[in-house]
């Protein structure tokens, strides 16, 4: 009798375990489908942002969900979004919309992981002329449209009025050329009695766009499919960057930079008064507001190399994008949301809340007038410049950044001459590009 009841208990136990397993399985399937009980089609949207930036997009998502009754966008803030989107896409269960950066388009597109948006855009009446040309260029690859912008960025030079002599305290009188900038830096930079640096006029290795200086000098990391990180133009640019370490001293510069806090903190060198100028994006005005609102600042385009007025208007672009991964369950519905974001009032609402300029060709007067970054017009103008540069459209862009960054470290630490450091980077990058072509592009 006891044996029998034990057997029954065991069977009931086994049944419960199986039942739990089945519930877990189907429950997870349901979770994976993410439809829940809603009659609306649920579109999942993964985004990288947290804090204020996340909230800014949350308002747009809420507006979209309230604007119609067919689609519901579920907005999730995801850390390490690039890795997770990559793995989810590979596993066949990607989000319907992934908020990635524009420099990831090439790698994802080369691997066939993105939905080509040409037809959807055409059907929706979205045209190239709706966007600032440099941003449209960022959205496309090999002539196809793979992403739409959420919020963009453009770099310009922030100047702290309190740290510069009176003659430099307005955008009109601020240096226009690199030689004038050099005179300015010499006047502003100060050292302590022990030789350590107390303030610098400018450091080219801080801020947004600090890895793209060759473009200021008319050079590029690649010419079509040929990597050119050791070209004469690149060498000129990095020698100019290296001249700052030489000017202030290798050890002194190291010690000075060691004292900098996090980028988005009150100890940022610009915010703590260690650096009189900083190349950065429009969002930086939000950091000023948050961490040192008493800073009296203005923004100017970065000075151009002497004798090359045609290189005026240099700026580095950055674009947060909305992509629809291949394998997304509801690409058309996802595109409806993407399209909603592209409408001028919604885009301007998002970009205002994120302290960014708009990627759209048409910008309203009230956007410029009421924008929390008082210099947003400068950023807007720079984005429209022919000297606006974005990431290299090669699948080895991350390797280029890594190798060039390391080469500049080696120069600044006097471990290698600029020529040797760039030649080494070129050799490694050529090998990696060859490998990429073989392994990913099947060439």
């Amino acid at each position: 009798m006891q044996a029998m009841s034990q057997s029954v208990v065991r069977r009931v136990g086994l049944f419960l375990v199986l039942l739990a397993g089945l519930i877990a399985f189907f429950g997870s399937e349901k979770a994976a489908n993410r439809q829940g009980n809603s009659k609306r089609i649920v579109v999942t949207y993964w985004e990288k942002w947290t804090g204020d930036e996340m909230q800014a997009m949350k308002h747009i998502v809420d507006d979209f969900n309230a604007s119609q009754d067919k689609i519901e966008v579920r907005y999730l803030s995801i850390s390490g979004i690039a890795d997770k989107a990559l793995l989810a896409t590979s596993g066949g269960n990607p989000p319907d919309i992934a908020g990635l950066w524009s420099d990831q388009i090439v790698q994802f597109a080369d691997a066939g992981a993105l939905t080509n948006l040409d037809d959807l855009a055409r059907e929706a009446g979205i045209k190239q002329s709706d966007y600032i040309p440099a941003y449209w260029n960022e959205m496309t690859y090999n002539g196809h449209l793979y992403a739409f912008p959420s919020s963009p960025g453009t770099s310009a030079l922030y100047v702290n009025r309190a740290l510069v002599p009176p003659e430099y305290r307005s955008p009109e009188t601020f240096p226009k050329t690199l030689s004038e900038l050099k005179v300015f830096i010499d006047k502003v930079s100060k050292t302590n009695p022990d030789g350590s640096i107390s303030t610098v006029g400018f450091l080219p290795r801080e801020g947004f766009g600090s890895g793209s200086w060759p473009y200021l000098f008319g050079a590029a990391f690649a010419d079509g499919e040929k990597i050119t990180v050791n070209s004469p133009g690149n060498l000129t640019a990095w020698k100019w960057v290296h001249s700052f370490a030489q000017r202030f001293g290798v050890r002194e510069t190291q010690a000075f930079r060691n004292g900098f806090g996090n980028y988005s903190s009150p100890q940022n060198p610009f915010l703590s008064g260690k650096e009189a100028t900083l190349m950065d994006g429009p969002w930086f005005s939000n950091f000023i507001r948050l961490y040192n609102p008493k800073t009296d600042w203005f923004v100017v385009p970065f000075p151009y190399p002497d004798g090359h007025p045609e290189w005026k208007g240099y700026t580095v672009l950055n674009l947060n994008t909305l992509m629809i991964p291949k394998g997304a369950k509801h690409p058309k519905e996802a595109f409806e949301f993407v399209r909603f974001v592209q409408q001028q009032p919604n885009m301007e609402k998002l970009c205002t809340a994120q302290f960014c300029n708009s990627p759209l060709a048409k910008v309203s007067y009230s956007f410029i007038k009421n924008h929390p970054n008082k210099s947003i017009a400068v950023f807007d103008k720079l984005a429209r410049s022919s000297r606006a540069v974005g990431p290299v459209k090669l699948g080895v862009w991350d390797q280029i950044r890594s190798e060039v960054g390391n080469a500049v470290d080696e120069m600044d630490l006097d471990q290698k001459t600029p020529e040797a450091a760039l030649n080494d980077a070129q050799t490694r990058l050529e090998a990696q590009w060859t490998k990429y072509k073989e392994q990913v592009l099947n060439r």
Partner: protein, 292 residues
Amino acid sequence: MKARQDQRVGILFALPWILGFSLFLAYPLISSLCFSFTNFSILRSPRYIGFSNYSELLGDKVFHTSLVNTLLFAAASVPLATVFAILMALLLNSNVKGMAFYRTIFYIPSLVPMVALGVLWLWVFNSNYGLLNMGLERIHIPGPPWLTDPAWTKWTLVIISVWGTGNAMVIYLAGLQDVPQSLYEAAELDGAKTWAKTRHVTIPMISPVILFNVVMGLIGSMQTFALPYVMFPGGQPARSTYFFSMYLYDTAFLFQRMGYASAMGWVMFLITLALTLVALKLSTKHVHYEGG
């Protein structure tokens, strides 16, 4: 019949572990070995390329740099952390009032998450605002740029590695409490003082524990990732803190070369295995097992 029934029940109870092990350990392990012989970019199907990934590693300078960085870090951090943990355990093994409180206090640091720890240490080693350089300044020693000078960056991480010795310390403490009191009494009768008792009784008696912690420390330091990843993005400056696991991660997820990264992972495994075997071999003469 009963034995078979028991066996079935036993398997049923072990099933969660067997499933977990098979799905989350054995399967990825075998998969990564297979991927190491392929060209696999995560988003495309793997393609067999033989030993190409392994031969490419031989000529990869960044791989060599990251390997040397990792070995140097392991060589410095494992002995330092071992000595520190033993010293702490010896102190916490003494008969002082409120010892439980001290033990808890010294163990707590090892519970702090690595990322939080990384941010915290960035402040400590900051040359302008950092506690360390401010302390050094007070005794008229100019503090080095811990975070930006390649000559110091690895040392920064070695010093930090001591912070996480709480787990090892607890194991040493357990080992110390297992040492029979009679051995100390016998040593005292022979005229042994504190150092002699430590040298000839304590150390030999806890030598299996030391071996265990050294091997675990070695494996852990070969896999160092989170701290340098948070404190020195990209292994800056000049890849002086670019460790093996950071290069592996970048290769897999940033450069999307999962096949090559898998090969790196297996090379790392073989190196760690070899070092562990060397440690075990070297230990045969120095490790004393009770009753063995």
